[in-house]
């Protein structure tokens, strides 16, 4: 399988792509925290945050609508928040009698529900932007520089490297299962659910053993090449003047968003 099946990185030349990954990680996390502490219903601040997002979208050469298209992933989870509309606080807007229960949507509940969706939608777009403009290995090094324990970043680096290989392995297993599961159209084939689960479980076990044995081989190979416990990089990752300026600039933007959100 090709790397791009998973990797969300987009090769482009832009200011945003060239920024130090630390700046991008810090800004993304700051942006998400900023969204989280904005009060419900601060539409002006949300709009400002969205404009910032659009601006970065544009600057990164990905096109204004780039993150919008991919931000649909949060939608299924929105279902969970629907019941916030029927908050016990706030003024009732209506009363729906559904027989078993009476639902009373309130104004505060409605504001809260929409605020949750907006926050989530903005945050997920910034996350998409981060991985679209930063190569994943650079991202891992950024976390390493930001003092995330090395064992964790190294495990993640390995996870990333072998994700593609093991997914291929998984696909091969599934193809083999399909090849052996012939059936005539219209006639029910296959066994009970328990039988199916058993087959899948054996596949998981098989995949586990192949991975386990592969990790042994990898370890031997790495030892023979002088592995000392962490993965090194040729990229120096030094913050230059531009990076510091952008970091300061993004801090000012976030503070501005907060001020707009809280002062009215």
């Amino acid at each position: 399988m090709h790397v791009h099946a998973f990797d969300q990185y987009h090769f482009k030349q832009s200011q945003i792509h060239n920024l130090d990954p630390r700046v991008k990680v810090l800004f993304t996390v700051g942006f998400i925290i900023s969204n989280a502490i904005l009060p419900d219903g601060s539409w002006l601040a949300f709009a400002l945050a969205w404009l910032v997002l659009l601006f970065i979208n544009d600057q990164s050469g990905l096109g204004l609508g780039f993150t919008f298209k991919r931000s649909i992933v949060v939608l299924p989870f929105a279902l969970v928040a629907v019941s916030a509309i029927f908050s016990p606080f706030g003024e009732p807007l209506a009363e729906w009698n559904l027989g078993l229960i009476i639902l009373i949507p309130t104004d505060l509940g409605l504001i809260r529900f929409i605020s949750i969706l907006v926050r989530s939608w903005l945050s997920v777009q910034m996350g998409i932007l981060l991985v679209a403009t930063t190569q994943f290995p650079d991202l891992i090094h950024a976390f390493e520089h930001l003092k995330v324990p090395r064992i964790l970043t190294t495990v993640i680096a390995f996870l990333y490297r072998y994700l593609f290989i093991l997914t291929d392995e998984g696909f091969r297993l599934m193809r083999a299962r399909d090849a052996r599961s012939a059936g005539l159209p219209g006639i029910k084939s296959g066994g009970s659910i328990q039988w199916r689960a058993r087959t899948t479980g054996s596949m998981v076990g098989q995949l586990f053993l192949r991975s386990y044995e592969r990790s042994d081989r990898i370890y031997q190979a790495m030892i023979s090449r002088g592995f000392t416990g962490h993965i090194r990089t040729l990229n120096p990752h030094q913050m230059d003047q531009m990076d510091w300026i952008m970091l300061g600039f993004s801090l000012i933007i976030l503070i501005l968003i907060q001020i707009v959100g809280w002062v009215r």
Binding site: I33, A81, V124, F158, L166, I193, F208
Partner: protein
Amino acid sequence: MLFSPPQLHIPDGFLTILVSLIFWVATIIIVGVAILKTNQSLGERQIPLMGVMAAFIFAAQMLNFPVAGGTSGHFLGGTLAAIVLGPWAGILVMTAVVGVQALLFQDGGLLVMGANIFNMGIITAVIGFGLYRIVIHQKKGARLVTAGIGAWIATMTAALITSLQLWLSGTTRLEIVIPAMLGVHALIGIGESLITVAALTFIAQTRPDLVETRKSAVDGGRGWIIAGVLVTLLAVLISPLASGNPDGLERVAEDLGFLATGFSAPFQILPDYSIPFLGETTISTILAGIVGVIVVLGILILMGRNLYKPKEIEVK
């Protein structure tokens, strides 16, 4: 997508900053201990193994089987990882998996990642391994049955805690989210349980050395039994309380200040349009929450440490 739908992966925006922070603190402490323990026991050799195992969990999550009516059974993997790799390594592996799912696929948020790791990595390891640890010296049948039950309870508890987090954040109503989440995950848990048992059976047949009692017994002491049983009991106690008598829990949360921070941030903490971050109620609630979490965890870790007897591992 290639992997299971994000039922337990909370996106950013759905938890308040207070709830996110509390679970970040808890997760950082537990993952920190897990890092120390794994460093002690296996060191650098463990790193490629855990990395490849994390990739395995990722790949295994896309293996599914048709159940009925277009739905399919999926595999989440926390319990299997904890049983085969040992609980500490299992926690690290799941941490890496949840982290990459959030970073690379936006499957779960960044600010709420602490909560997601807690639910899917730590809870599954504590319950899945804790219960398995009870029967670790028993016959194969007993071990497999316990692993299956553990996988189901772990999935249910993860769903329960996810619901509680959402509710504490004022994102959802308890009487709606608990039956919905637990109902869905009762089914998902059965799939998880069946696959875990079948995978363990397969591994025990092909490579019995990997699931032999010795390895796991070294990685996790008896403290895991206590932690596993306690968390299970707590979950069993809370779920009927939460679904049958939500008012009671709601009252407790209100007294502790959670619901207020969830719902009324803009409307009540800001009476004089002052700077909100210094609001006495918020700060004190955050501090109280963090202190409480640290105290409880400290007690748990001390209990675990006293019961934990380190032994040497012979590396093959």
